[in-house]
Amino acid sequence: MALTKANLAQYLIDQAQFSKQQAVELIELFFEEIRTALERGETLKLSGLGNFQTREKKQRPGRNPKTGEVVPVSARRVVTFHAGLKLRGEIEKLVPSDIEEE
Protein backbone atom coordinates (compact mmCIF):
# COMPACT_ATOMS: atom_id res chain seq x y z
CA MET A 1 0.00 0.00 0.00
CA ALA A 2 1.14 3.52 -0.73
CA LEU A 3 2.66 5.64 2.02
CA THR A 4 0.20 8.42 2.88
CA LYS A 5 0.03 11.40 5.23
CA ALA A 6 -1.82 9.24 7.75
CA ASN A 7 1.02 6.67 7.77
CA LEU A 8 3.60 9.43 8.17
CA ALA A 9 1.67 10.93 11.09
CA GLN A 10 1.48 7.57 12.85
CA TYR A 11 5.22 7.15 12.32
CA LEU A 12 5.99 10.50 13.97
CA ILE A 13 3.73 9.61 16.90
CA ASP A 14 5.48 6.26 17.37
CA GLN A 15 9.07 7.31 16.68
CA ALA A 16 9.33 10.86 17.97
CA GLN A 17 6.62 11.12 20.64
CA PHE A 18 4.63 13.72 18.71
CA SER A 19 1.02 14.26 19.71
CA LYS A 20 -1.47 13.46 16.97
CA GLN A 21 -2.14 17.15 16.38
CA GLN A 22 1.57 17.99 16.24
CA ALA A 23 2.26 15.21 13.76
CA VAL A 24 -0.66 16.08 11.51
CA GLU A 25 0.17 19.80 11.49
CA LEU A 26 3.89 19.27 10.88
CA ILE A 27 3.21 17.01 7.89
CA GLU A 28 0.59 19.34 6.44
CA LEU A 29 2.90 22.36 6.80
CA PHE A 30 5.92 20.47 5.48
CA PHE A 31 4.18 19.85 2.15
CA GLU A 32 2.62 23.32 2.18
CA GLU A 33 6.08 24.93 2.55
CA ILE A 34 7.28 23.01 -0.50
CA ARG A 35 4.20 24.05 -2.48
CA THR A 36 4.68 27.71 -1.49
CA ALA A 37 8.36 27.70 -2.45
CA LEU A 38 7.56 26.18 -5.84
CA GLU A 39 4.73 28.63 -6.34
CA ARG A 40 7.31 31.42 -5.94
CA GLY A 41 9.38 29.69 -8.61
CA GLU A 42 12.12 28.72 -6.13
CA THR A 43 14.24 25.60 -6.40
CA LEU A 44 13.94 23.41 -3.35
CA LYS A 45 16.80 21.19 -2.25
CA LEU A 46 16.00 18.54 0.33
CA SER A 47 19.05 16.58 1.26
CA GLY A 48 18.21 12.91 1.61
CA LEU A 49 15.43 13.16 -0.97
CA GLY A 50 16.17 15.32 -3.99
CA ASN A 51 15.56 18.63 -5.72
CA PHE A 52 12.29 20.15 -6.83
CA GLN A 53 12.28 22.90 -9.41
CA THR A 54 9.96 24.64 -11.81
CA ARG A 55 10.42 24.78 -15.57
CA GLU A 56 8.83 27.00 -18.16
CA LYS A 57 7.25 25.11 -21.04
CA LYS A 58 6.52 26.81 -24.34
CA GLN A 59 3.29 26.34 -26.22
CA ARG A 60 3.39 23.20 -28.34
CA PRO A 61 1.02 21.43 -30.68
CA GLY A 62 -0.95 18.63 -29.08
CA ARG A 63 -3.88 16.45 -30.02
CA ASN A 64 -7.18 15.62 -28.55
CA PRO A 65 -6.71 11.85 -28.20
CA LYS A 66 -10.41 11.22 -28.67
CA THR A 67 -10.98 13.18 -31.88
CA GLY A 68 -7.42 13.43 -33.24
CA GLU A 69 -7.97 17.15 -33.62
CA VAL A 70 -4.84 19.34 -33.31
CA VAL A 71 -5.08 21.75 -30.39
CA PRO A 72 -2.29 23.88 -28.93
CA VAL A 73 -1.01 22.91 -25.47
CA SER A 74 -0.66 26.32 -23.85
CA ALA A 75 2.61 27.59 -22.35
CA ARG A 76 2.84 26.61 -18.69
CA ARG A 77 5.07 26.27 -15.68
CA VAL A 78 5.59 22.75 -14.38
CA VAL A 79 7.28 21.10 -11.40
CA THR A 80 10.11 18.62 -11.87
CA PHE A 81 11.80 16.40 -9.31
CA HIS A 82 15.27 14.91 -9.47
CA ALA A 83 16.17 12.20 -6.98
CA GLY A 84 19.22 12.90 -4.84
CA LEU A 85 22.24 10.63 -4.42
CA LYS A 86 20.98 8.90 -1.30
CA LEU A 87 17.57 8.11 -2.82
CA ARG A 88 19.11 6.96 -6.10
CA GLY A 89 21.49 4.75 -4.15
CA GLU A 90 18.61 3.03 -2.38
CA ILE A 91 16.61 2.57 -5.56
CA GLU A 92 19.58 1.12 -7.40
CA LYS A 93 19.50 -1.86 -5.04
CA LEU A 94 16.08 -2.72 -6.46
CA VAL A 95 17.34 -3.70 -9.90
CA PRO A 96 15.87 -7.09 -10.74
CA SER A 97 18.54 -9.79 -10.54
CA ASP A 98 16.84 -11.84 -13.23
CA ILE A 99 18.33 -9.83 -16.07
CA GLU A 100 17.76 -11.59 -19.36
CA GLU A 101 21.12 -12.77 -20.76
CA GLU A 102 21.98 -12.48 -24.42
Binding site: L3, E39, K45, G48, Q59, L87, E90, I91
Partner: protein
Protein backbone atom coordinates in the same frame (compact mmCIF):
# COMPACT_ATOMS: atom_id res chain seq x y z
CA UNK B 1 15.31 26.93 -0.49
CA UNK B 2 17.15 24.26 1.44
CA UNK B 3 16.11 21.99 4.29
CA UNK B 4 17.45 24.24 7.08
CA UNK B 5 15.37 27.18 5.83
CA UNK B 6 12.31 24.97 5.59
CA UNK B 7 12.84 23.87 9.20
CA UNK B 8 13.16 27.50 10.33
CA UNK B 9 9.90 28.38 8.57
CA UNK B 10 8.14 25.39 10.13
CA UNK B 11 9.47 26.30 13.57
CA UNK B 12 8.01 29.81 13.30
CA UNK B 13 4.64 28.43 12.23
CA UNK B 14 4.44 25.57 14.70
CA UNK B 15 5.43 27.51 17.82
CA UNK B 16 1.86 27.48 19.23
CA UNK B 17 1.86 23.67 19.21
CA UNK B 18 4.80 23.52 21.59
CA UNK B 19 7.20 21.98 19.13
CA UNK B 20 10.86 22.94 19.46
CA UNK B 21 13.17 23.47 16.52
CA UNK B 22 14.97 20.29 17.52
CA UNK B 23 11.76 18.24 17.39
CA UNK B 24 10.80 19.74 14.05
CA UNK B 25 14.23 18.97 12.67
CA UNK B 26 13.82 15.38 13.80
CA UNK B 27 10.28 15.21 12.39
CA UNK B 28 11.32 16.54 8.98
CA UNK B 29 14.19 14.07 8.78
CA UNK B 30 11.87 11.23 9.73
CA UNK B 31 9.39 12.25 7.00
CA UNK B 32 12.14 12.38 4.37
CA UNK B 33 13.63 9.08 5.52
CA UNK B 34 10.23 7.38 5.43
CA UNK B 35 9.58 8.57 1.88
CA UNK B 36 13.02 7.35 0.84
CA UNK B 37 12.76 3.99 2.52
CA UNK B 38 9.30 3.40 1.09
CA UNK B 39 10.61 4.00 -2.44
CA UNK B 40 13.69 1.96 -1.63
CA UNK B 41 11.41 -1.00 -0.93
CA UNK B 42 9.67 -0.54 -4.26
CA UNK B 43 6.66 1.21 -2.76
CA UNK B 44 4.90 4.40 -3.65
CA UNK B 45 4.12 7.59 -1.73
CA UNK B 46 0.91 9.51 -2.26
CA UNK B 47 0.11 12.90 -0.77
CA UNK B 48 -3.19 14.45 -1.87
CA UNK B 49 -2.79 17.93 -3.29
CA UNK B 50 0.98 17.62 -3.36
CA UNK B 51 1.80 14.69 -5.59
CA UNK B 52 2.96 11.13 -5.67
CA UNK B 53 6.34 9.46 -5.87
CA UNK B 54 6.70 6.13 -7.58
CA UNK B 55 9.23 4.14 -9.53
CA UNK B 56 9.56 4.01 -13.27
CA UNK B 57 11.23 1.00 -14.80
CA UNK B 58 13.92 1.76 -17.30
CA UNK B 59 14.83 -1.10 -19.62
CA UNK B 60 18.39 -2.13 -20.36
CA UNK B 61 19.91 -0.07 -23.11
CA UNK B 62 23.12 0.02 -25.11
CA UNK B 63 24.99 3.12 -24.17
CA UNK B 64 28.53 4.22 -24.87
CA UNK B 65 31.21 6.25 -23.21
CA UNK B 66 31.20 9.53 -25.12
CA UNK B 67 34.87 10.11 -24.44
CA UNK B 68 36.25 6.79 -25.68
CA UNK B 69 33.39 5.60 -27.90
CA UNK B 70 33.55 2.33 -25.99
CA UNK B 71 30.27 0.41 -25.82
CA UNK B 72 28.74 0.08 -22.38
CA UNK B 73 25.61 -1.84 -21.47
CA UNK B 74 23.47 0.20 -19.17
CA UNK B 75 21.59 -2.26 -16.97
CA UNK B 76 17.83 -2.10 -16.42
CA UNK B 77 16.97 -0.03 -13.41
CA UNK B 78 14.32 1.92 -11.60
CA UNK B 79 14.13 5.67 -11.40
CA UNK B 80 12.27 7.72 -8.83
CA UNK B 81 9.47 9.67 -10.45
CA UNK B 82 7.41 12.49 -8.98
CA UNK B 83 4.04 13.37 -10.39
CA UNK B 84 2.76 16.71 -9.11
CA UNK B 85 -0.75 16.63 -7.66
CA UNK B 86 -3.61 18.77 -8.89
CA UNK B 87 -3.31 21.54 -6.31
CA UNK B 88 0.47 21.88 -6.75
CA UNK B 89 0.17 21.86 -10.53
CA UNK B 90 -2.54 24.49 -10.60
CA UNK B 91 -0.91 26.75 -8.03
CA UNK B 92 2.50 26.72 -9.72
CA UNK B 93 0.97 27.42 -13.12
CA UNK B 94 -1.36 30.13 -11.78
CA UNK B 95 1.62 31.88 -10.18
CA UNK B 96 3.47 31.78 -13.51
CA UNK B 97 0.53 33.39 -15.30
CA UNK B 98 0.37 36.28 -12.84
CA UNK B 99 4.07 37.01 -13.37
CA UNK B 100 3.59 36.84 -17.14
CA UNK B 101 0.70 39.29 -17.11
CA UNK B 102 2.69 41.75 -15.03
CA UNK B 103 5.71 41.73 -17.34
CA UNK B 104 3.77 41.49 -20.61
CA UNK B 105 0.61 43.62 -20.43
CA UNK B 106 -0.37 42.83 -24.03
CA UNK B 107 -1.68 39.30 -24.16
CA UNK B 108 -0.94 37.34 -27.31
CA UNK B 109 -3.91 35.23 -28.34
CA UNK B 110 -3.14 31.52 -28.58
CA UNK B 111 -3.19 30.58 -32.25
CA UNK B 112 -4.16 27.01 -33.10
CA UNK B 113 -1.38 25.14 -34.86
CA UNK B 114 -2.12 23.86 -38.36
CA UNK B 115 -1.85 20.13 -38.92
Amino acid sequence: MVKSKLITNLTNNLMPLGLSEKQINRGVNLIINQIRSCLGKGGRVEVRGFGSFNLHYQARRNAHNPKTGEKVISPPRYRAHFKPGKELRLRVNAAAKIVQQKSKPTLVAARPVEA
